[in-house]
Amino acid sequence: MKQIPKRLPVHSKVPVGITGFDEIVNGGLPRGRTTLVTGGPGSGKTIFGLQFLAHGARSCNEPGIFVAFEETPDQLIANVEGFGWKLSELRPKKLFFLSAQPTPDLIQSGTFDLNGLLAILSAKQKSMGAKRVVFDALDVVLALLPDPAARQREVYRLHEWLVTNHLTGMITAKTVRGEDAGAPAHHPFGFIQFMVDCSVILNHTVELGVSQRNLRVQKYRGSSFDENESPFVIGKNGFDVAVSRILGRADAVVTNERVTSGVARLDTMLGGGYYRGASVLITGFPGTAKTTLSGAFAEAACKRGERTVFVGFDSDSTEVIRNLTSVGIRLGPHVRSGLLKMISARTLTGSAETLLVRIKALTKEHRARCLVIDPVSKLSKAGNELTAHGVAERLIDWSKADGITLVCTSLLDEMSNRMDGGTPLQISTLADTWIHLNYLVQAGERNRGMSIIKSRGMSHSNQVRELILSNSGVTLADIYTAGGEVLMGTMRWEKESASRVASEVAEVAGQLNLVRLDAEETVLEVRAKSLHTELLAKQAEKILLARTTQTRNREQSSGAKRIRELRGADPAIARERKALK
């Protein structure tokens, strides 16, 4: 959202005091101008107007006047008693109710104007210093006017009066469903929408039997606003408008702090646990121990002394506690100590938006740092899926903004989502950490496998682990992969023991082999030694032989010479002798 710089001459704003609404319009309604609130029957127009006045009178020191054209003030006050605004306390100094219902026996002849009303209001405004005025169900009195020109004239009169008296005005008027913003020209009072400075449309629809309230700011002169339809709930304290946290708002504290998941090996797989304030999604088919994992988280949080809320949609809190005790997760003591609040949301009804608002309220009330919603996919069943997605988004945004670590489980539809693993709420794309639990059916067994599909901002294991539930707790075992197949449960055990035996056999065999090789080595060494000796002998023999041969040869040649000399008969010798002489 664009923020208008303060130096621009923009009229100041009047806070309405409705959670979410003031954010949509960047602060409130235009001061000293007129706002139109339209909606069908039961859409909350009157409550909107009353909340605007109650907030002004109580928190802004701006007394207000409520002009009731339809209901009597006493009825109105009784109707909103449940919201805890304590309107009777504010009367009549801070909040004045003007009962202006046309009497049923009213006889009319010719046109009229609203000067009488304005005269009374002017006097009241002066005496009580009113700053805010609400004209509730103005259409009732406008309908009495004989022609459109007269209606227009009277609305202008009101508008003028508000402007000249520096009053922030609100006009509520009925619309028939389907006739809101689409076709103002066809609406009998459509012109009001053109005249006012701000126009808010309230919608109340029923989708698949579930009520859904929406609010939309149609126009706001001179200010930016959130143009989309925002779901709202009329809750314990009046209006509660759901707005997505505006991105870039610096209220989300990001930390590197880790919180344990409650399962030691899972923490290791995640490199230390979940991030504080992160949103964790645990998906899986029914019975894959989603609740158990989230229960382990809740128990760990309570052990750290952190206030925790556990919202269970599937079973009663006492059942959850009992069931988790069977796997060594003891939530009971923490419930008794008040750290843990278990909410069985089966009793909560309404649209996804209503549920979110209730969960938010309960979490705030409990001042929880950790929140478990089991399963969050139930939200989509409660209303139409379109808004439920928005709800999941807001749930995560809200928990992040408040620094609440959120663990939610989501049931996967076994039939439709087996392939893509997506969740009905598409929360999987929003969650920071996504843990998936699965069954592996093998050799007549069903075993639970756990893997981390994603975990933002941390290194995490890529291994599938077997999730083992025992009465001593939740543990994760390495799975056995052999020949490209993944083994779990008994088969894993069998394979593991088989491989243990095999390795023992191999060890013995290895040792035997070693002994054998040692022996062979020794033999060879001995052989090598004797051969070497033999070699030396042969070498000596060879040298001896060579020497003998040489001597013999020399002896032979010198012998022959001698013989020739002795004989003296050979010419060659004689020549030699001659030459010598």
Partner: protein, 96 residues
């Protein structure tokens, strides 16, 4: 024949508005024609005495209140449709 009934009117107007002037004129004309000599008209300007308007719950102007004879009746508007006004006040042309 009993004494003629006296009609007491209170007409709330917003001083300078044309509607008020019209209503005053219409009422005067009706009284002159049908209730000659047996009517009292008080004209209240809502801007001058808003307390009176609040007291009488007058939000729309002009408003004519017939205080007596009972029952109290009120007619909103410029009183331009004489027929309607007469019927509302219980005056028949013959009775005049």
């Amino acid at each position: 024949m009993s004494a003629p009934v006296r009609f007491r009117f209170c007409l709330f107007v917003a001083d300078d508005s044309p509607n008020g002037a019209q209503a005053t004129a219409n009422l005067a004309a009706i009284c002159a024609e049908y209730l000659p000599g047996r009517h009292t008209i008080e004209i209240v300007d809502v801007f001058k005495v808003p307390a009176r308007a609040l007291e009488a719950n007058v939000f729309m102007t002009p408003t004519l209140i017939l205080l007596s004879p009972a029952p109290v009746r009120r007619i909103v508007g410029t009183l331009s449709q004489t027929e309607v006004v007469l019927r509302a006040l219980g005056i028949t042309k013959q009775a005049a």
